[in-house]
């Protein structure tokens, strides 16, 4: 390998100050004599500091709202496959799910797992892998979970508007 290629292999470590002193010295002396490697090192210095300073984006204002909607929608998709989707309470499924979500947020001690994450969807590799890790309660089948969601949402309906606003932490 020619000396320039060897030196260039170590330029990042040189920049990061993570080379042992002897190697560092060898690179120093090569750079003194080799304008090409010296130029590359200069460029790398410039580039790393330039990359550090690229403008950063901020998530949109509706980020949390959309996330919540995504969580609700994904739960709602499961509801559609369920015979229990007709409710006698005069509430739409979506409204109930919104209420369930808020209810969970106001009650940190509520065991929410059975309500919100009955089973992961089977749409991706990651889900399949993750589902192996998730232990589900054998006593609670999908229908039971749904019934629980309905029952809990009736509870959550009692929250006042003011409480609901407080729960919406991320918007404050």
């Amino acid at each position: 390998m020619n000396p320039c290629a060897t030196v260039q292999k170590y330029l990042s470590s040189y920049l990061d100050q993570s080379l042992d002193p002897q190697l560092r010295q060898e690179i120093d002396s090569h750079i003194q004599e080799c304008p090409e490697c010296a130029k590359i090192l200069q460029d790398l210095k410039f580039l790393t500091s330039r990359l550090k300073n690229v403008q950063t984006l901020q998530a949109s204002d509706s980020f949390e709202k959309n996330l919540r909607q995504r969580i609700i929608d994904n739960t709602a998709t499961k509801e559609e496959n369920n015979p229990l989707k007709t409710f006698s309470y005069g509430l739409s499924a979506a409204a109930i799910l919104v209420a369930v979500y808020f209810f969970i947020n106001t009650n940190p001690t509520t065991p929410s797992d059975n309500i919100i994450s009955p089973a992961p969807s089977k749409s991706s590799i990651m889900d399949a892998r993750m589902s192996e890790e998730i232990t589900t309660n054998p006593d609670l089948d999908k229908e039971t979970n749904t019934q629980m969601a309905v029952d809990d949402s009736i509870e959550s309906k009692r929250l006042t508007d003011e409480e609901q606003r407080e729960i919406n932490l991320v918007d404050q």
Binding site: K9, F63, L67, T109, S117, M130, V170
Partner: protein, 200 residues
């Protein structure tokens, strides 16, 4: 209950404490993790994909998976590396999808007529001050890297992770991370050197 107090009490908590609380059913902890990580993850994924809308969607999906699969997290990993791994995998999947759809154009090399639209947020007075190597040029150059090089340079040089953390995030050996970062930097240098003639 005074939620504001509760909220600020948690604000300084370590990530690992928050995820533990969330696993125990405390959904405030989830909110806090979202607040803490939405912007860093957005920037990570945005640099990966070059598209703000897609990036935000991927970050949403990342948090959704966290929400749904919270018990998958085990304390042996740092939360930050874990969530970055998920976001990175989703971003790479998105890149592969684009490639399949053949929508991923790499023919915008230094084009001045801007066939490649960056989001409006990029057009700020600050950016204009960077007259020679603009954020757009940086992004275009990063986009030309293959995903494996792109990923390490974003994590190391844009987001400031240590080599060890990167090794944890992308699950490759430390030595490989180092050489990959070096090669990625050299590729960028090669790509942009003619623009740096007068400034370095």
């Amino acid at each position: 209950m005074k939620q504001g107090e509760d909220y600020s009490k948690h604000r300084e908590s370590a990530d690992e404490e928050l995820i533990a609380r969330f696993q125990q059913g405390d959904n405030y902890a989830f909110d806090l993790l979202v607040i803490r990580y939405k912007d860093p993850l957005l920037n990570y994924v945005f640099r990966f994909l070059g598209d703000r809308t897609d990036a935000e969607d991927i970050v949403q999906e990342t948090f959704y998976r966290l929400y749904k699969n919270k018990h998958y997290y085990k304390e042996i990993a740092k939360f930050s590396t874990w969530i970055y791994t998920i976001a990175g995998n989703l971003a790479k999947t998105e890149l592969r999808k684009r490639k399949r759809r053949n929508l991923f154009s790499i023919n915008y090399y230094m084009s001045t007529d801007k066939d490649y639209d960056l989001p409006d947020d990029q057009t700020s007075p600050e950016k204009d001050a960077n007259t020679i190597i603009t954020d757009d040029i940086i992004q275009q150059s990063v986009d030309k890297l293959s995903p494996k090089f792109k990923q390490v340079i974003i994590l190391r040089d844009i987001q400031g992770f240590s080599y060890e953390e990167i090794s944890d995030i992308i699950k490759i050996p430390l030595g490989t991370v180092k050489s990959r970062v070096n090669r990625a930097r050299l590729k960028l240098q090669e790509d942009l050197k003619y623009l740096m003639k007068d400034i370095t």
